[in-house]
């Protein structure tokens, strides 16, 4: 099993990555998944995170198989 980290919209373009697969040991929380998948970049304050398609805080713990997503403020409608 593993953790999948996804990036959307301007974040995906800026970081030049769409999806990163981490080993479960690499990241115990959302914040750690960000750091690991971006190569240690600090997480900007306005970045939103979701775990398994629900909004999540940076300190939310992760478990094997989780899908973590990072994206900028939403602008639909």
């Amino acid at each position: 099993m593993s953790l999948t980290v996804r990036f959307f919209a301007s974040l995906r373009e800026r970081l030049e990555r769409d999806e990163v697969v981490l080993a479960p040991g690499d990241a115990a929380t959302v914040g750690e998944a960000w750091a690991c998948a971006t190569g240690g970049e600090a997480m900007p304050a306005n970045v939103l995170a979701a775990v398994n398609q629900d909004y999540a805080a940076p300190d939310q713990p992760l478990k094997d198989g989780d899908e973590v997503a990072f994206f900028p403020p939403v602008t639909g409608g």
Partner: protein, 148 residues
């Protein structure tokens, strides 16, 4: 989850409403009030001419949160049904982008729920807009305008 649709092609809001109502709402004699909102693409944003737009979403999460917004509206108001249709992909000025609708016995509930669907969608549903400007440049829209 028929009352939530994310579509890649053109959105014709009036045809969409007619089709949706044909599933029983048109014959529902308890419906006294239908409130509808349609958001369309303008050719101007933050003072700049915009010639096209690309709408991105997070498949799965988007639909899940639109359904949750409808569920929440149903807890807050007395509603018979709701509908949200949102377009993604390449979009041109004048194209309808989003449709929200609420059906109720009473107009207060329909008006307030329809507006709630729209405001919640804009603040919670994962969609992102990238604009193409008149000079060919591209930029991501960074935040929505306030709705209240």
């Amino acid at each position: 989850m028929d009352n939530v649709r994310v579509i890649g092609g053109a959105l014709d809001p009036w045809a969409e409403l007619q089709r949706y109502q044909a599933r029983g709402l048109a014959e529902h004699a308890g419906v006294g009030a239908t409130a509808v909102f349609v958001g369309s693409m303008r050719d101007l944003n933050e003072g700049d001419a915009v010639t096209a737009m690309t709408l991105e979403h997070y498949p799965g999460m988007t639909e899940k949160h639109l359904a949750a917004i409808i569920e929440e509206a149903g807890r807050r108001w007395d509603l018979i049904d709701c509908l949200i249709v949102h377009r993604v992909g390449e979009i041109l000025p004048t194209d309808p982008i989003v449709l929200t609708a609420a059906w109720s016995a009473h107009r207060k509930d329909a008006f307030e729920a329809c507006r709630f669907l729209m405001e919640e969608l804009k603040s919670r549903a994962p969609f992102w807009k990238k604009e193409t400007l008149a000079d060919g440049g591209e930029r991501w829209v960074e935040k929505n305008t306030p709705g209240y």
